[in-house]
Symmetry: C2
Subunit: 323 residues, 2 copies
Amino acid sequence: MSEVAVGLDVGGTKALAVLVSRDGEILDELRTSTPHDAEGGAGAATARVLAEQVTTFAERHGLDVTTLAIGVGMPGMVRRDGRLAFAPNLQTVSGASFPELLRDSIGATAVFMENDGNCAALGEYAWGAGRGVDNFVMVTLGTGIGGGIIANGALVRGRSGFGGEIGHMAVEARGALCGCGGYGCWERYASGNGLARLAFEWASEGRLPRLTAQRGGAQNVRGEDVTTAARDGDDEAISLMNEVAWWLARGLANLVAILDTGHFVIGGGLSAASDQLLPSAREYLAELTFGYDKRPPIVVVPSGLTVHAGALGAARVAFDRQA
Amino acid sequence: MSEVAVGLDVGGTKALAVLVSRDGEILDELRTSTPHDAEGGAGAATARVLAEQVTTFAERHGLDVTTLAIGVGMPGMVRRDGRLAFAPNLQTVSGASFPELLRDSIGATAVFMENDGNCAALGEYAWGAGRGVDNFVMVTLGTGIGGGIIANGALVRGRSGFGGEIGHMAVEARGALCGCGGYGCWERYASGNGLARLAFEWASEGRLPRLTAQRGGAQNVRGEDVTTAARDGDDEAISLMNEVAWWLARGLANLVAILDTGHFVIGGGLSAASDQLLPSAREYLAELTFGYDKRPPIVVVPSGLTVHAGALGAARVAFDRQA
């Protein structure tokens, strides 16, 4: 039983590595840009970055790379066998098996892969805002919406390991086109990307006149302009944030109906705007949830581990799955 | 460890009772109309019917009612403590605790309650079309849509026991009003009730001219007229059944994204029209499912236990939960 594990959280822009003790303390941390060149085959460039992070930890802390428990969180459909079936935002790694790549490059033998949203759920369950809650859903509001489901005290991986892709639940059957090719996916309404889309739509329709004038045109109104203006009390921007909160609640209410979720942990970049989103979302949840008044109160809280949720969860995967 | 258990499936119109062996064989069966009078308090009239069914089995088979394992499946939100929080289609039993009522009336001490869709899932998992499949979803297409989720080999009951109310997942955020008070619930599009609603809508819009003329007006076109006409090859009716199949697939695709479900078991009254629904639904699933081509084929099969799924599952609950 290892005393420490490495958690690697690979995103579209950066790879975050943490060295973690068994009780969830971060002992060391590294941050590297994610390479996007395809040279050497699927994932080779990314694997080199990860190998360097792991060997840096090993050297600094006197650890044996060959037996070190390593968890890798990836944005995409991660198969139970550790291969990345599909990573829409990280095309150069699609198809890669990081356990194989890290074994071949640095001799690591205890490498385990998991989807990043699932990692975040496991991290929050072990050490964060879902600690001790045997039925909860992690919702990561980033560019899109990812997540992970804990039911009966265990991660819902599903048949192939693809469970928790909650952002691609359609909430508007013939709604906005999504990058996945589908229509009306939740993430087109309640993520960073959804906010940007709605901001452009509202600006084009003349519903954000002040922001549109300030930015010099509808096409220049960004999501962060809206969150900033809302924070400063701009009523147009607040209305739009309420719209996003309504859509957030719409998806959460669906998960309540399906899973009887009583506890949501909200993470990801957009959760920095929690103050603008969560109070309204909680109110809308009361309107939108099936049998709301028959249920105990539904808890919606921000992530406890914030930017480290995915990396800590990846370390947790390594602790859990090593032989 | 009991050798037999009783499974009671209480529906809006009838209560089905089965006596079941440990390997799922039905040894005896009773069918009684469900009473709808409220006399004696919540559930009292229904409890009398169930008590009679149980004592009939006991007398016929020489069983001791006080120790007999009894499972009760109910259409509604069944709390983990066995109390029915809410039963929209069976208002007179809302709030009732059948374990208490059956203990007080006939001295039964091993009575366990569960939602009827969850029972059906457990029945199919033990002895039906979900046998041995550790991640699957039971979908009961009746008047509405019920269901139950098996993940990691266990029923997803959720926080309070209300898990599996998949029919109240919204697939059209501001869509058709549902009996639950919400809008756009899946069951307003893909259940018996959804078929009836769409049939009236289509007929009113002049899209079912033959059926409308035959029945003497749009308001007389029933769901069963459409399924019958579709079976007879009427192209208007087939188009409408395809629309229902599309909506069925829309909800199934959502469940695939959320849970990575690879296997669906379709039961309930409308599943009698399986031949008109499932082939198209399987095709639409390929269009609507996130990452469809990265997944192994998704299996959509009719219930193996058909009308007995709920009652058999209730017996299974009794076997599983007795001391």
